[in-house]
Subunit: 396 residues, 2 copies
Amino acid sequence: MANVNKTALGLGTQRSVIRELFEFGKKRIAEVGAENVFDFSIGNPSVPAPEMVNETAVRLLQEMDPVLIHSYTSAQGDAQVREKIAQSIRKRFDYPAEADSLYMSTGAAGALCCCLNGLLNPGEEVIVFAPFFPEYKVFIEGAGGVMKLIPADVDAFQIDFDRFEEALSPNTKAVIVNSPNNPSGAVYSEETVQRLAKVLTDKSAAYGHVIYLITDEPYREIAFSGVKVPYVPKYYPNTLVCYSWSKSLSLPGERMGYVQVAEDMEEKEMVYAAVAGAGRFLGYVSAPSLFQRVCAQCVDETSDISVYERNKDILVKGLREIGFTVVEPQGTFYMFPRTLIEDDVAFCEKAKDFNLLIVPGTGFGCPGHTRISYCVPTERAERSLEAFAKLAAFYR
Amino acid sequence: MANVNKTALGLGTQRSVIRELFEFGKKRIAEVGAENVFDFSIGNPSVPAPEMVNETAVRLLQEMDPVLIHSYTSAQGDAQVREKIAQSIRKRFDYPAEADSLYMSTGAAGALCCCLNGLLNPGEEVIVFAPFFPEYKVFIEGAGGVMKLIPADVDAFQIDFDRFEEALSPNTKAVIVNSPNNPSGAVYSEETVQRLAKVLTDKSAAYGHVIYLITDEPYREIAFSGVKVPYVPKYYPNTLVCYSWSKSLSLPGERMGYVQVAEDMEEKEMVYAAVAGAGRFLGYVSAPSLFQRVCAQCVDETSDISVYERNKDILVKGLREIGFTVVEPQGTFYMFPRTLIEDDVAFCEKAKDFNLLIVPGTGFGCPGHTRISYCVPTERAERSLEAFAKLAAFYR
């Protein structure tokens, strides 16, 4: 065996369920045609970036100083970019965000890794709620921490506070939340956020050290009609927001996001410095320069995300009629129905016989469920119901 | 003190010599005018990207599928992008590079961090030659390794092989080289590379494990008239190339580079997997999508780098006339003359009195020298000689 880092080798050779579904899908498309394969496996936005994004990029490329546009920005990001984002936060959330509380990151993943590496000492624990984005475990362990997973509240995909309070300990350094949630589509209610803040405040006091709340928010803007996404820094002072434009502006490949340190965080400047310092040893240098500026200019825009709500309505109604149990998503472009048998891995394997590509819940820490990514053309979502009906019939 | 990671906090609060020079420069510019401040402190290319870069970016933004252009590429980078780069390597270096040996990275810093984190187990040693880019230490320690620094060969800035061989041990995992070199401008000769390869081959055999050679090559294309930069994978099979377009295409802010695993590396696929696996826990996901494609299209272009050679000629001649000892750079846009007194920090501090912003060699592991970054307008380089003459007169 090669004399390399074993963790890295393991991660680099790990079999990826979603990648295998993708390869299967390519094969099936060749056999039965793209229109007959229902690929609900990946979370790549299906709608393009708003026109303003490419127009802004083109304009900057043609009009900005040709050296400056591609130069390094400062490590924390261009000052005007951060001011523009802070202004938007102040206006949209009535929250006194300052430019110097923002650290531009290479996507939300980069933001999370800078936070985790900035905060954690070896062996400290980070609490995560199932169902969860599985790379959290990779990021936490990469930062030397230990993930503690709280089982899902499968009735509403809010927080099971009993299990949460049991899991907290003096070794708890941080908690990660992701609302609107991948894979459930749930949005934490104001009541959930308030209660979470209360528990963290109480336990921080009891343990004599801050427990940080890291809120991973790539789906913040994708909330459906009438749903309000509470702005977490207003509820808990020791919050670090990890934001990304990957989904809201359909720019996942451009790797642009930020860390926002809450204004009334204890020793805020030191926490910010630790996040930036982690960025150095992770090799980030600075976030990509052109798209820092593009995202700042488009900070109040979103892609046409109405298609996701339309697909959600069609699929929730259709799947329930077929006999699926589904917690209605309040945002994102995911839903997380129960599988019709206990074994979600076998269920998703069987689904392939009907050209349905869906992901087992087990990988998200929540067996007995399956993730459906409905960032697909609406017509595809509609026609998929026939395949789901056949799958259900198989199990009847 | 905030309960954060101490290493990260230290790095985030560290006083940066170059940053302080930058702030001083801004102040002096306000006092005496930009034309009278000779800022040789930073390594930001002073010439714009070739027109083809922005033209390609605009064309892709206007013509490519609007969803695909900003989508995630695969973690190792877009397949066509990697094929195009591999083709260029095959053609330019007569070396059988394959697309699947390339891993697109977020700049050379990202490439180095993926290599180091992919290779190192805790406490393993990485050898670096002075003068060296100081972030190497940050990257190595961030990956859990220990840096061993070999003192400079100040006569030619090649390798002091006696000191190098003394430093090698069974705990040596890798060696980093940087040629053309920041800060000296030296290019390792074919003889140096051959001898380096021989030592590494012999010691790998003696220790019973591979010693990897990591070659950091952001300046590969910036070599002056008649200078050949040996293509390292041809000389040593266990080589990982860390490349970047930051300097060759004047795109430092766009963070685009790659790791190339040499074709005849032992257990090449596993090493590649470890590099990619490290990319996961560092949070890289994939390199920025638009500029992957732009760089691939422009892979055989460079900025107008002739200005750097012109500046080099003017400064080497002028500084030698004034009495400086300078090893003539063979590439990059740096030179590394001896300071006129032993104490390079005091010397650079005094230089500020003459509005000369130059960086002490101490930070590069080579006291008694100063780095001059001559990526500046030629007229500025010319006029700076009067200031250097005054500085020299002060010490006479």
